[in-house]
């Protein structure tokens, strides 16, 4: 008998031998709703994984040569959506902290695009994240995650404040709701397709 806890059959990627895995990033500042968003829409219980960082922000994969330096870990969480026998979509959530360069490079490499979650009450907190996404050359859409009691925002003012391009989509979304989250994702993918064509 296997002594290790084995995974449920559904944990595995259906049709893995023919699948193309793709990823979209879900980004935004702390507590904006990234984990909630991924949990609402993922077919698996979201997982998280971590990279070890030295204080300088370099990822370390072993402790050789970093003895004595303080290391911290940074977690990213992710979920999965099997969309067909050919495409399986992964959603990776991460806080926008520039100092975790290695993690950002891992996340951004090959990503189709990014959904930027924004709280209209804390617009300034989103600047750094948007800068980072642009720096990595990723196309994105803005999903305004309206928390209870958040005043109704003016889209024009928000576009102005975030300095968005005219064709960058802005949608409202409740990250706790599957349909609302899916709609935000669909808006992003439509935009990415427009850009690709």
């Amino acid at each position: 008998m296997d002594s290790r806890p084995s995974l449920d059959e559904r944990a595995y990627v259906r049709g893995g031998e023919t699948q193309t895995a793709v990823k979209i990033l879900v980004v935004g500042h702390f507590a904006v709703g990234k984990t909630t968003f991924i949990g609402s829409i993922s077919e698996i219980t979201p997982l998280s994984t971590e990279e070890r960082m030295t204080r300088a922000g370099e990822a370390v994969d072993d402790l050789k040569g970093v003895k004595g330096k303080t290391t911290t870990t940074v977690a990213m969480d992710f979920g999965r959506l099997t969309l067909s026998d050919r495409v399986v979509l992964y959603l990776f959530g991460t806080p926008g902290q520039l100092r975790f360069v290695q993690m950002w490079e891992d996340m951004a490499r090959g990503a189709l695009g990014a959904l930027v979650l924004v709280d209209p009450d804390r617009l300034a907190d989103s600047f750094a994240v948007i800068d980072l996404i642009e720096q990595y050359g990723l196309d994105y859409a803005i999903a305004v995650n309206r928390f209870d009691g958040t005043p109704v925002y003016e889209e024009a003012a928000l576009r102005d404040a975030l300095d968005l391009l005219d064709d960058t989509p802005v949608v409202t979304c409740d990250a706790r709701d599957e349909k609302s989250s899916a709609d935000a994702l669909i808006t992003l993918v439509r935009h990415l397709l427009d850009r690709a064509n």
């Binding site: 893995g16 994969d61 979509l89 891992d106 669909i186």
Partner: protein, 126 residues
């Protein structure tokens, strides 16, 4: 399937990553990206030259029943991503696992994949 002869491990082992990876260097990032799909190879493809470590054995057992991405393997084992990559690169070299890296980005490929993603999302949630 062979029965592992090591003790069942509940919690992630408290071993320095350097020890777990036996000091092997970093694998190619492209080859073992977060979304590279991994599965166990057939017995005849394996070229055992040494005894697998408990961590390698654990990874191999996890992906014996199907495909998982590198990120999922790290999530399920609770090993740091860098460690999982190094272990997987050793397992790949030994013919124990097969990896399917994601397709290269190219605008034509992207448009086709994006169509597929859009259709899939609409079918699922529309």
């Amino acid at each position: 399937m062979t029965t592992p002869d090591e003790q069942p491990s509940e919690a992630p082992p408290l071993v320095r990553p350097y020890v777990i990876t036996k000091g092997r260097g970093l694998p190619d990032d492209e080859q073992l990206s977060l979304i590279t799909l991994v599965t166990a190879a057939d017995d005849e493809q394996r070229r055992p030259t040494r005894r697998l470590t408990p961590e390698e054995q654990g990874l191999l057992e996890l992906c014996a029943a199907g495909y998982l991405t590198v990120a999922e393997l790290a999530g399920h084992t609770r090993l740091p991503l860098g460690v999982v990559r190094i272990l997987l690169s050793g397992l790949t070299e030994g013919g124990f696992v097969i990896v399917r890296p994601p397709v290269e980005r190219a605008s034509l490929v992207d448009a086709r994949i994006l169509e597929e993603v859009l259709n899939g999302l609409q079918a699922k949630f529309g």
